[in-house]
Subunit: 338 residues, 4 copies
């Protein structure tokens, strides 16, 4: 950690800071500049609390120079992590498109959807049984009954399933229904108790980015899961809040190369929630794959106009099929498969 | 709801929209303009889903004209709601300053803090037993033990207590320790299962604004609590995420008059988490009270430099006392007490 | 325009609004709903000022339903506009990569740069003679002398040039040096007097997006140029301000499909200023082309480490060459050339 | 400046950085930590370009520790600067409220407005002759004719005038009409050529904050003016762009104490453009003065409903008078006058 003393700090204030650093078991390098004195703490700086130092009299600024995340950091784990989901590999050379409806509605809808997912060439299926809705008066999902419909429909077509967990008390039920990938939604990215619990189970977790989370906060949220022992984490960029009102969220495409540099874990993108309109999905999907994403989480509904929620952002089966063709070309242009 | 058809929509598309509106039990007003046809749905428009209509072919835009919140809306409840916290009134003529340390550390620290809170003239005390921390490796609070220390220290000084609930499984413990006001933190503003549970208990709830929540989303989060039966909700503005890096969050002072217009419930401000630096707290506190806030949630620590977390943003006892004096003058200038 | 009256508006207030609409020469459609009365103005609603109506007593909200831009709107001009820059076509099937250094430094540097631009297969060159710098003490560019160096170097390699105009008083000099494409920078997107002047000349204009401009404001800024008679406008997305600090700006990749829908004019992307780091440029460039951009504005420096400004974001010649190869593959995957 | 080398940097890369620092005439302090080597440059670090260093191989991060602004910084000029505007003092103990209409419309309107400004107890008048409008088809102001009307009306009531300069070519006309305070609008905060020109004249300048300018960029924009010799600069906070759509801009009240700490120059607030609605103006005005602003720039129109632009945000004369009374009480509560 580097501590910059303010220009009018006294010698005794400098000494107090030095003492605090040494008490934590680190060494100190002192650099007296023309306008300011700068102290460098040498040793394991994770033992120093930046805010504590910034509150000491005479301190202008304290900065960590080491990244606060460890298990998820590429600095400590150079090779890409490839996650195995019942035989489907995510994070390797092959790009994976996870498709399916926003909400589980009926057994028929799920069966049709699963068939279309397979027909389009996708190997994983998504669907929501528990729905985080802005309004308490909106449809909240079919819950456990929805989980059951999803499990059955996907099972008949041999598709592993991805679905969102909102309530920590429901985790056992998810394990019981053998959910293959647990999704943590945007609104729960910093629901730390939920992160700790999914950190203890042996299931891959998709961690969606918080509505306006920094990349660093996101990596730290993943570190919460990893610290519990579960290292099978998949980052999912889904757009962040911005001032622009034309679309729902601003897809942060730059987060893709940044995450690929900072972490060894797979990165996927949800183009449907980002834009919020079906007609934007193909362009955003192409951009995501071109930028290096390992996969997508796309909404597809057998008949979008009849969907119960977020209908506006779902592709129809033919659109998904067409999109898969284009994405294959892009994947190949950058040396990957689909 | 108003539905704007796109310029090239067909007559049969217009008819489909009309049929959908009528199926929901509403009437339709048709306005054929020079460039676009506009349909108005007349009746209880909460029965219509905006996204569903926007996904219909030929529809350019669908807009609700009625507010989506009901119980918390001033439109349906004109007078200010005054919440009674063991005899302390929040939301009335008197402004309430809730002070105390960020974290519960030791019985001695809590006892001193409680004494200073009383000395400064504050009637409610805050303190954190469960701490939401960005890093899994940072101090997470003393938990139940901290709750116990807090309850005892505050009790000896006759102060009702405010503390944060993070995990739904801990609610019974909060009731057992008779926490007077349950705080829902920024990261949990849209933890809907948690909101539903605190909606069922008979305790005032402070609902902090999400990191980048819109005012409308915030009102809807309160509506989740209210829909469960608990109408004792206090909004707490604590700054929102912005591009500015000089301070931690951007205090949205405009949210105060906006909330006072939109809801009958009390509104308080947390100037400590907003700025993130103790030296900013007085200016932000003065601004909040001047703008019409019903109270503040302020960090005060008996000896800030020794605090275990967020030390940098806590006032010391004398600073709190001085601030109270200034705030009293401002409260009087706008016709209130403190 | 649609005017929503507030629930407690009086009959005479409704009549005042109706009178105002009729005075402007439009017809009125009245829709009396359960909770609110809604008025629709029928006719050329550009004659009505939304803010004027919102200020009338009893009005809750006034909304335009017709887009405020006209000349630049695809609604009025269905086919893509292809801009001819000395024989190089921008906006058609072929994607154009405009490359060159951030700043004009020396004749040798510019000569080398031009050679590398040609070698990489690019047909247009960029370079800055006038530099908008945050600090008055930073290098402000070589000015007219730089323009001269750039003109000569590019001329010898047959490359049309793109350079930024900051001061309206310098426009004649730009015409004198026959600048092929005039760039309006981020900080001047709403410098309306500058827009009006470039609207009067017969030169293509690249209009960069303002630091946090909405897409609608950006289209209106282009409309300022177009209203003067110059319809050769190229939109350039360069990232917008966000709370994320890992990179310089957040590239708004969604703006690409949105602009392609809203306007018939070409859209390019500046991946260098967006990310701010050379290592991010390839991923962002690939994303931009995959999303449908008509071209790129990329920084390339013959020897980046010696550059005088923004060195950190420039590719070296080999990196540019490699990038061109990858982009060609992506362009083909979506049915375009490069 | 502090330069953090990446964990895998080589010894020769470290030496290159050291050589570059020494070439610029500074000394180097080397601190070899457990995970990273950190170099500190000792001397006048304004001579070092952060971006240049970040582009050198092996460098992870380079950070300035000295502020980039000088003339405007309180670090170099401890006492508050009080600006004298024809005898009216801005920046001292007395708070100044600058009131007047958004646009100059007619001589009668301006005469009435001036009378109401005086009646309310304000000592300075604002009014727009040149209007920056989003649309090229909207009313652009009366220009020089408006300047003339404004000058005459204000003169008859002994009020110094504040008005916006948009085009550098109009500066001589402003001097001819003896405009007392030149306002630089939001969209021109980084119109550097305009800043340089107003830096050469001997007139106070109000510098509005850019739509999403950081405080640091804003201080640097003021430094552009100051570097030209004109030190009579007044900062005007007017809200920044945010994701919230309920109001027009988010008033950044925290900027007030931050600027008072960082600069010796006066700080005022424009509550009218911030909120965008007249009913929000009183609350925002109270907050601004309570937070320590030296004054306000408020819109007041003799008859708001008939105003030609921004009508929705103007107070009427009585509202201004009432507001002045409340603000006086707040000013006194914090030891100031009005």
């Amino acid at each position: 950690m580097i501590i910059v003393m303010s220009p009018d700090s006294t010698e005794s204030q400098v000494e107090t800071v030095i003492r605090k650093i040494k008490e934590a078991g680190l060494e100190v390098n002192i650099s007296r500049g023309v306008e300011r004195t700068v102290l460098g703490a040498i040793g394991d700086e994770r033992r120093l609390d930046q805010e504590l130092f910034e509150s000491l009299p005479g301190v202008e600024q304290a900065m960590h120079i080491v990244k606060p995340y460890k298990i998820v950091a590429r600095e400590w784990h150079k090779e890409d992590t490839v996650i195995d989901i019942k035989g489907v590999k995510l994070g390797g050379k092959q790009v994976q498109i996870i498709a399916g409806p926003c909400s589980v509605e009926t057994p028929e809808q799920m069966d049709k959807a699963a068939q279309f997912v397979v027909d389009a060439g996708c190997k994983l299926m998504r669907g929501g049984a528990f729905k985080p809705r802005t309004s308490p008066y909106a449809f909240q999902g079919h819950g456990v009954e929805g989980l059951d419909m999803f499990r059955k429909a996907a099972g008949q077509h041999g598709l592993p399933i991805v679905t969102e967990l909102m309530d920590v008390r429901m985790l056992d039920t998810f394990l019981e229904y053998d959910v293959d990938v647990i999704q943590i939604g945007t609104r729960n990215m910093q629901n730390f108790d939920l992160l700790k619990e999914v950190g203890k189970v042996n299931k891959p977790v998709i961690l969606k980015r918080g509505m306006s989370a920094t990349i660093s906060e996101w990596l730290m949220a993943a570190e919460y899961i990893a610290a519990g022992g579960n290292h099978n984490i998949i980052f999912c960029e889904r757009g962040v809040r911005s001032y622009e009102t034309y679309y729902r969220n601003m897809l942060d495409v730059t987060a893709i190369p940044v995450l690929k540099k900072e972490t060894h874990l797979p990165v996927i993108v949800d183009p449907s929630h980002a834009g919020g309109k079906a007609w934007m999905v193909p362009a955003l999907s192409r951009a995501a794959i071109a930028a290096g994403a390992d996969g997508l989480l796309v909404e597809m509904h057998p008949s979008p106009c009849e969907a119960w929620c977020d209908a506006d952002q779902a592709l129809n089966p033919q659109e998904l099929k067409d999109l898969m063709g284009t994405l294959r070309g892009i994947a190949q242009a950058i040396g990957r498969d689909l």
